[in-house]
Point group: C2
Chain length 361, copies 2
Amino acid sequence: MKDEYYMKIALKLAQKGRGYVSPNPLVGAVIVKEERIIGRGYHQHYGGNHAEINALKNASEDACGSTLYVTLEPCCHEGKTPPCIDSITKHKIARVIIGSIDPNPIVSCRGISNLQSCGIDVKTGVLEPECRKLNEVFFLFMEKKLPFVTIKYAQTLDGRIATATGQSKWISSAASLKFTHKLRAQHDAILVGAGTVIKDNPELTVRLVRGRNPLRIIVDSALKIPAKSKVLQNLSQNKTIIATIKKASDPQFQRLTNLGAEVITVVADKQGNVDLKKLLKILAQKNISSLLIEGGAQIITSILMNNLANRMVTVIAPKIIGKGIEAVGDLKIRNLDSAKKLSIRKITRSGDDIIIDSRLS
Amino acid sequence: MKDEYYMKIALKLAQKGRGYVSPNPLVGAVIVKEERIIGRGYHQHYGGNHAEINALKNASEDACGSTLYVTLEPCCHEGKTPPCIDSITKHKIARVIIGSIDPNPIVSCRGISNLQSCGIDVKTGVLEPECRKLNEVFFLFMEKKLPFVTIKYAQTLDGRIATATGQSKWISSAASLKFTHKLRAQHDAILVGAGTVIKDNPELTVRLVRGRNPLRIIVDSALKIPAKSKVLQNLSQNKTIIATIKKASDPQFQRLTNLGAEVITVVADKQGNVDLKKLLKILAQKNISSLLIEGGAQIITSILMNNLANRMVTVIAPKIIGKGIEAVGDLKIRNLDSAKKLSIRKITRSGDDIIIDSRLS
């Protein structure tokens, strides 16, 4: 109970790094001595001190003999910063309580054994589900070598993302648009299909809130997006990757490369389009751990069909339009037992809209 | 402020009658003397005492000189019970504070003027929107001479009520099924199309919760539902009305009447189906003030198309099935500005599902 109490505080601290540490995990740490918290820390930004180090630095008194609570197994390797294990032993911490084991193969469990061999008492698995949930992106990325994929779209209450004539601006409220920008800032990259670029000509940047612009990825199997598309402007500032099945010898490939976009050739799937799983593997290799998919229906359907989605963020506008365009097309599901199951994580109001945040299981 | 405080208590009392007073309105009353509540009452069941009378009966001391707070204008006519005005004057109440004016043309404003002519101080409009909201069914029924129409259906998160092969059992959870039965018990009647009877053969009764069975209404323009349908069983206990465009001379009309159903002929609309607005007018004349529509898609679409719906209860199951059947068909809306707007009243969880309760404006 006491361990869980302190781990909860460490979890709350970890949250503060959200949006700044990716692709590193969120980590929080608390140092407790004689029932008093003497130090708190969290991983604040990518490349910065780890949570344990910050907690030690912030400690109000000598940490000798204290207990360190940390949401993720301390590292034992030299990365952008020295190994945390060294600081822990140097400060003569007596006990380390760990939430989740690091899935990073160069750390996993070695941190624990190193601590133990230094005579430090180690306990693991305290609030482990919560600690894993905190870093769901990081765990998936490390364990599957794929980006954590979030599908986001806005629909009417009757499930339409556009009218029968294709009108979709704006289904959702101004508040939800701002929410979308916030979501973008929390992701390493945004992906849309060429159809969305041609039809809506979005900028795919973060403008309505403060935050970094994610990398833009356009799936354009036939390389047909026009040169004047907004996603092809200011490429020196905001990078755009175009995924195609065309080879580098294709004149369109050359044209887009000359504009400053990065064009990558991906093998085709059975339908002759970019194989999305292959593309995601390539993106993971490029250190993209979280990917936001903003449409259109063809990409969303294909991602779901290939079981590549991890999270759905569905904005529901309190409107009814009847016959129109739906976000999810044919998944070949004919039996309700085969429906894709979601677990709802959070329901929030956004202006007049409802936002349902769920996970695919 | 003080008036609103006591009116809120009267509103809470009124709620207690929900499910028992229809087609009468919910009414609550509080008697206040020298800043103390000396009596509370509400309309408990159809045909029973009005709220004011119950508050006077329950009063712990002489109500002379006190203030009566009542959510709806007191009646001045002999109905199933004597006029409330008489009791109010007899008990020498000094002041009457009213929430909403009675829309019933035989009461409207006459209650107020009668009280005033008896020398009683009257104030109206205290928490009027809340008092009208409390009796939204009653107000609509009285003012428009139409039943208050609730459309209820269960859909997946991606907006489907059945798979492409028509499978719909069960989209939603057991908890939501129970919720549906509760909703049925709160309505005077349930309406479904013949297609739903033929496909799902529902009983349309209240079984999973305690409550009265609403009247069942089947829209069957061509009189094609089979005699073995569950809605045609036990007709002496649970009444069923079948609305058709066929005349009484039609052999099917005779067959269904002989089974014990009430068959009514309604004029046809342009498509040659039962004109739903005409049907609702007939149902209002039969004292049906609240109508629950449980499907199918054709009826739901037609009700929305004709602007006959007042409330939508949408059960959203955390599932994705892709291509399938949608609840709302073509409403001829091609422009988002013409979308039907809803105001969301309540969002609740029901098992794994989400229930969105909204009103059409």
